[in-house]
Subunit: 229 residues, 2 copies
DNA sequence: GCAAAAGTGTTCCAGATACACCCATGA
DNA sequence: TCATGGGTGTATCTGGAACACTTTTGC
């Protein structure tokens, strides 16, 4: 066995929380207050402590580091595991990486910038600063997963309020694909998938025709994948 | 904080290794030699020890518990993390779950059944015994992931020898989908995707016309997903 | 009445499906 | 010569893509 740290491996949990801000897909980042990577931006995460499971640690970490309550985030997928050899100078670490989607969430700590530089912020993926560890690669990985989720699940609904218009839904797709979609084709396709339903209400919001409001047919993540043959 | 074990959380790594045996998708299981779940079947796994990363621990664990060398397995995807609260009576544990595909691998320990009941075996998913922990749910989860991987990646090639016939490739798809496919349509589709190429050689193996041998165009996992629009 | 977003159908094309026979070989 | 699996083409159907105008509202 190689001569390395004698400390047992350490478990951390990180949250990768996405939200659409001003039409752009954004991810929740904090500025690290401690070494290593002090001052650099990173995904918010904490060590899992004795007596906690990964979900509880995620909840605590999100609140401590970003002021975001986990109950306002909808988790998608099984969490991934990432080796994080540089996470702690004393030992090798593994990070449990949760992915979540949300809408209208404000990040911010009560005594904010005062405490050690943190400074939670939803940052557009198109303007990511250099990130600590290999978080940049992880975000890219997640973005690709997110794209496939959009194609065959109802995940897009988690980036919107409880009720939403088809235009808002389309904007969510466009934010993630990074490309405009045709309105008529989009509507045909989405309505055919049957994962949203009319609420009967409409949204009267500007100097234009009111839009029908829709909601998710199921409030958990659902698969709408076609069979192979 | 709830009153629980004071020990820090523990990291384990498990391998979920799939292979096609007699045309059936099978997964590598061992019979547990220790409590908890002594005697029950489970995915092979070990604790990650000081000085190891998860990949090294996987390699060691697979060899110790099943006699399988990791070099004969092709890993797919980022490993998942599963909470495993019952893994260790002393503390909460998280399992790093790797998924792998292989072909023609023999499981077996030198002094096999002698040591504590282990008894590594590729078992068809259609005949899974009750599994320890929540491994049954994890296998089901993986099977679904595997189905989607087949639809838009070259993963099927990892369940076959270096060179293979289109019939073998089709059998791999059929084993995973659990349904027969049309030969002509299958070939058109696969050849259109362009992820296999002819080797120029052929396989003269029985009382019938020899089959052309193909190989993967790329020997790592590749995406062949269509764009959204 | 005008600006602004909502809503709506048809044509066209590509890719998926259904389907049956001949070919090369070993015994 | 026969049994066995390998290899091939066409007609049809379905779902995706391209494309522009009318409707409803607030000002």
């Amino acid at each position: 066995m190689p001569k390395t740290a004698a400390t047992p491996p350490i478990l951390t949990v990180d949250g990768m929380v996405f939200q659409i801000m001003d039409g752009k897909l954004s991810v929740l980042l904090v500025q690290r207050g401690f070494e290593p990577f002090k001052g650099a931006w990173a995904l918010p995460g904490v060590y899992i402590e004795a007596g906690e499971n990964s979900h509880e640690a995620l909840e605590r970490g999100l609140m401590q580091k970003t002021g975001v309550h986990l109950s306002s985030v909808r988790l998608v997928e099984q969490p991934f595991a990432f080796d994080a050899p540089n996470r702690d100078p004393r030992a090798y670490a593994v990070s449990v990486m949760y992915m979540g989607l949300c809408y209208g969430v404000q990040a911010g700590l009560p005594d904010a910038a005062a405490t050690n530089l943190q400074n939670p912020h939803f940052t557009p993926l198109s303007k990511l600063p250099p990130l600590a560890y290999d978080h940049a690669a992880i975000v890219t990985f997640a973005r690709n997963r997110l794209k496939s989720l959009m194609m065959y699940t109802n995940a897009a609904g988690f980036l919107l309020p409880k009720t939403f218009t088809l235009s808002q839904l389309q904007q969510a797709y466009e934010a993630i694909f990074g490309a405009p979609l045709d309105k008529r084709n989009f509507r045909k396709r989405i309505l055919a998938l049957n994962f949203v339903q009319e609420t009967g209400k409409s949204d009267r919001d500007g100097a234009h025709r009111p839009a029908k409001l829709y909601q998710l047919a199921a409030d958990t993540l659902q698969n709408y994948a076609p069979a192979f043959e």
